[in-house]
């Protein structure tokens, strides 16, 4: 039974995402679109499953929800902080590059972490070393590099690592 379900839904997360995107795009929850969306969300992952190299497994959905909440709040704070930095005296800014050593290894986890870093506190991710162990980050204004690295690791990387572990 379980193997049959696995065969029919090779990528359950993708199915759910496609289904909700279809409903959001049509901006309705009418029965017709729910069914049509489900058919598409079933067929597309089923037919394209060969093209998806890795399987996405969400280990701890609650941690993921909490993480999304934290990130949305941080985006709000980061926007105000960056707006202040831009409007203030640009001569006093101390830009800098620093490396972030990665503990997380799955490609999806790394890309989500890089995205989060770019959206949040005054930093943009610039480059990933070829062995996928270090991320080069540029900060608009940074005074305490080890402190920032520690904050990023605790606040974003730890929950992401918990959610997306290789299987």
């Amino acid at each position: 039974m379980k193997t049959l379900l696995n065969k029919l839904f090779p990528h359950p997360v993708l199915t759910l995402v496609l289904w909700s995107i279809w409903l959001l795009l049509n901006n309705t929850t009418g029965a017709g679109h729910v069914v049509l969306g489900f058919i598409l969300a079933f067929l597309i992952p089923f037919l394209t499953s060969g093209f998806w190299p890795e399987k996405v497994r969400i280990k701890a959905p609650l941690t993921l929800l909490k993480f999304i909440g934290v990130v949305l709040w941080d985006i709000l704070v980061a926007n105000i902080a960056v707006a202040k930095l831009i409007l203030g005296k640009n001569k006093d800014l101390k830009p800098g590059f620093f490396y972030l050593d990665l503990d997380i290894q799955t490609p999806l986890g790394i890309s989500l972490l890089a995205n989060t870093i770019s959206l949040t506190p005054g930093t943009v991710s610039c480059d990933l070393t070829e062995d996928r162990t270090r991320l080069l980050v540029h900060a608009l204004h940074i005074e305490d590099i080890p402190g920032t690295v520690k904050q990023i690791k605790e606040r974003y990387e730890a929950p992401l690592k918990e959610v997306f572990t290789a299987c």
Partner: protein
């Protein structure tokens, strides 16, 4: 009252988009200019889309949520384009401001 909330949201959005564009004009080097559009504008667009979702939900009695999709796509694409541009800029060794702090293994 409802219109006041909507107007406030739109004004906040417009303000942050303006600040983001100002950053593009004002900041001294390429890497610093990247910060304007990736951050200041996400909140700006977010606020305007929230206003749109609220307006259409209450005005037409149909809950309107496809604005969420725009926000999600923006959150996915904005950092990726910033990342690619930064990568290209490092590759062709664009000028950085003198006071940029660099990691031990230089770039």
């Amino acid at each position: 009252m409802f219109e006041w909330i909507l107007s406030a949201l739109i004004l906040i959005g417009a303000f942050f988009i303006l600040v983001g564009s100002l950053g593009l004009y004002k900041l001294p080097d390429f890497f610093m200019r990247l910060h304007g559009p990736t951050k200041a504008t996400t909140l700006g667009v977010g606020a305007i889309l929230t206003a749109s979702a609220l307006y259409f939900s209450f005005e037409t009695n149909h809950i309107s949520l496809h604005e969420i999709l725009i926000t999600v796509f923006l959150f996915i694409t904005a950092p990726i384009s910033a990342h690619l541009m930064a990568k290209a800029a490092i590759h062709i060794k664009l000028k950085q401001v003198e006071r940029t702090q660099k990691p031990p293994a230089s770039i």
